[in-house]
């Protein structure tokens, strides 16, 4: 929680401290926010994809590979915990969730079928965000070149573009661009997505993360990561606690007892599942095979039900009775 706020402050206001982290950050560090200390890899990759085939396989390809490599290197260390702990959009969604919780309004869940169908959207977005910039420089499938107004197409509809600058008091991204039809449609889409983002995340925990193409991109490299969420199926009673607290609603965490690597494409690595697991050693996070955080029975009761261990010490009167 504290870490999340710190990460949020860093990625939103880091520019004031002249911090510069790089252009391949595996999370939504939005350069549309003038004070952002680094750049979301998605914008870099969209820019780099805006190249002719010739240059992509030539000199520009090197730049592409370098930034991809630095993305992977950054990512591999803490895996998808970027989503759970660093991403400012994730943090904003968590705040909205908190607000809803305070208001006592219930959250929604997808049913299994919708879950299965909707989760594909992020892959579609990922393909589009690479395909469209490529199509601006190259004719793909004989299509005419796309308008340059489609540059960085995902950024145009990404709610982060509008929201993150708002935190430094910059409303300049909140607009509809009437320059031409393309820009008008894209900017309207951006606003619609923003509205969906806010409303959606009010009713559904981590609503946007479910559709986030960054999350899809992460998943491609997730297996090689150092930070891993591991499940020991033998200790699992399938009580469903982990699924209940899961913000994205991954059922496999509760029902899959065969696989040990539990970071699914929707996983945010927020580790709430570990907090909610009452079985000793059933779920754990390991960093380079060293366990970092494990599920324990004692931990379950103290974390989830706020029972402190005092309550479990025999009271004096009873001992004296006997």
């Amino acid at each position: 929680m504290v870490f999340q706020i710190l990460a949020f402050l860093l990625l939103i206001y880091g520019g004031y401290l002249s911090i510069h982290i790089g252009t391949s950050i595996p999370t939504f560090a939005c350069p549309y926010n003038q004070e952002c200390p680094g750049t979301c890899y998605l914008i870099s990759v969209q820019h780099q994809a805006h190249n002719t085939w010739a240059s992509l396989f030539g000199f520009r390809g090197k730049a592409f590979l370098i930034s991809l490599l630095s993305f992977v290197l950054l990512f591999i260390v803490i895996n998808k915990a970027w989503c759970g702990y660093v991403c400012p959009l994730g943090t904003i969604q968590d705040w909205i969730t908190k607000l809803r919780n305070r208001m006592g309004i219930s959250f929604s869940r997808y049913d299994d079928l919708s879950f299965k169908r909707l989760k594909a959207i992020k892959y579609v977005l990922l393909v589009l965000l690479l395909f469209i910039p490529l199509g601006m420089s190259n004719s793909i499938f004989g299509l005419p070149l796309f308008s340059h107004d489609l540059g960085a197409p995902f950024c145009q509809i990404c709610p982060g573009r509008v929201i993150t600058p708002l935190f430094i008091g910059d409303t300049s991204q909140l607009f509809i661009d009437f320059t031409n039809t393309t820009t008008m449609i894209m900017s309207s889409l951006g606003i619609i997505v923003l509205a969906m983002f806010l409303i959606g995340s009010f009713f559904k925990k981590r609503f946007f993360c479910f559709f986030c193409p960054m999350s899809a991109l992460h998943y491609l490299f997730s297996r090689f990561s150092m930070l891993r969420l591991i499940k020991n199926g033998d200790n699992c009673t399938k009580c469903g606690n982990c699924y209940r607290v899961c913000d994205v609603g991954i059922k496999a965490i509760a029902e899959d007892i065969e696989h040990s690597y539990m970071v699914k494409d929707d996983c945010m690595m927020c580790f709430k599942c570990i907090e909610a697991c009452p079985e000793n050693d059933c779920l754990k996070v390991s960093f380079l095979t060293m366990p970092v955080f494990k599920s324990t029975e004692e931990g379950f009761f103290s974390r989830n039900l706020h029972l402190n261990s005092e309550m479990q010490k025999p009271s004096k009167t009873i001992i004296e009775d006997e």
């Binding site: 079928l113 909140l174 509205a195 409303i199």
Partner: protein, 323 residues
């Protein structure tokens, strides 16, 4: 969108002196060979192996619409200087084979290239020094956005330039900067690298509207870019780059001789031309955005609430069909 038509050209500005200026817009016959390069769409020609050279043409006249391109033969003896963003002088080629005078140079570096064309001439006891300047920003996002502040600086170092005019950079300016209608832009006029007071600075819009102000003690003059052209509302197209023209005039009581002819005054005229966009307020609407946002929020939020209240199915129905 290009206009290389010739109208009766008045070679002299409102205040009666001749103006030369550099333009980005190719004459009709060259249009086919010219491509726009970089983010700022500088006119350029291919120079082999993926490289380009930036091209500028010289026009005469104090009105953007009615100025005429200068023929190669008309201006044989002009001085031409091209400064890189780092302040070094670099070669600038004048292609003598072309019909119109055409200046071209390489731009490998990121930042502002300053191109000058100077013509000196004595007439009526007056030395006319006509300077045409272009500030050409070279930027591609692929090259990154480091050291922006250094790159956008305009070197005020040109001792060879008798009277220079520089657009003052604003605080928020970056490598993606465009002048837009409605912006207040300031210019600093300097003579021999010293701020020049009381020079008159004339701002001419694309449509020909003009305004003249005098520079202050620091040699600065501020002008607001007005918008005097509106595209019809039904065609949503606000990406028209128009060129404005800035003309600085100054007459000093210096005596001397130039090329054997003596003069009693020197009349300096320096022009600077650049593109300007329609103002952001013309095409980006916060209120529309807010409206759309609210509408969508209401529909989405209301939808969820309505769905929750009306929902009778607890889980997805399994559909059965007759066949």
């Amino acid at each position: 969108m290009l206009f290389s038509f010739f109208i009766l050209h008045s070679n002299f500005s409102a205040h009666g002196s001749e103006v030369l200026w550099l333009t980005n817009i190719p004459p009709g016959e060259r249009q086919k060979e010219i491509t726009a390069s970089g983010m700022h769409k500088l006119s350029s020609i291919k120079a082999g192996r993926g490289k380009v050279r930036i091209v500028q043409w010289v026009t005469r006249g104090n009105n953007v619409l009615s100025s005429a391109y200068i023929l190669n033969s008309e201006l044989p003896e002009a001085e031409i200087y091209c400064y890189t963003p780092e302040g070094d002088l670099q070669e600038c080629n004048v292609d003598s084979t072309k019909h119109f005078k055409e200046l071209s140079f390489n731009n490998p570096l990121e930042g502002y290239y300053n191109l000058y064309l100077i013509r000196k001439e004595v007439r009526n006891d007056t030395l006319f020094i006509l300077t045409a300047k272009a500030e050409l920003l070279n930027h591609s996002c692929r090259n990154g956005h480091k050291d922006v502040d250094e790159k956008i600086q305009s070197g005020d170092h040109h001792e060879k330039i008798p009277m220079d005019i520089v657009r003052k950079r604003t605080r928020l300016e970056n490598l993606h900067f465009f002048v837009a209608s409605g912006d207040r832009i300031s210019f600093r006029v300097s003579k021999s690298s010293k701020p020049l007071m009381d020079a008159s600075v004339t701002f001419v819009t694309h449509q020909g509207w003009e305004k003249t102000v005098k520079t202050n003690r620091k040699g600065e003059a501020e002008i607001q870019v007005i918008q005097d052209y509106f595209s019809p509302w039904q065609d949503i197209n606000n990406r028209n780059i128009y060129n404005y023209l800035i003309i600085a005039d100054y007459t000093s009581q210096e005596k001397g001789s130039f090329m054997g002819e003596s003069y009693k005054h020197i009349h300096y005229t320096t022009s600077l031309s650049d593109g300007y966009y329609p103002s952001k307020v013309m095409y980006s609407s916060l209120s529309w955005a807010l409206g759309l946002f609210l509408l969508c929020s209401l529909i989405a939020g209301g939808g969820v609430v309505y769905y929750r209240n009306k929902r009778s199915r607890v889980y997805r129905e399994i559909r059965i069909t007759n066949n």
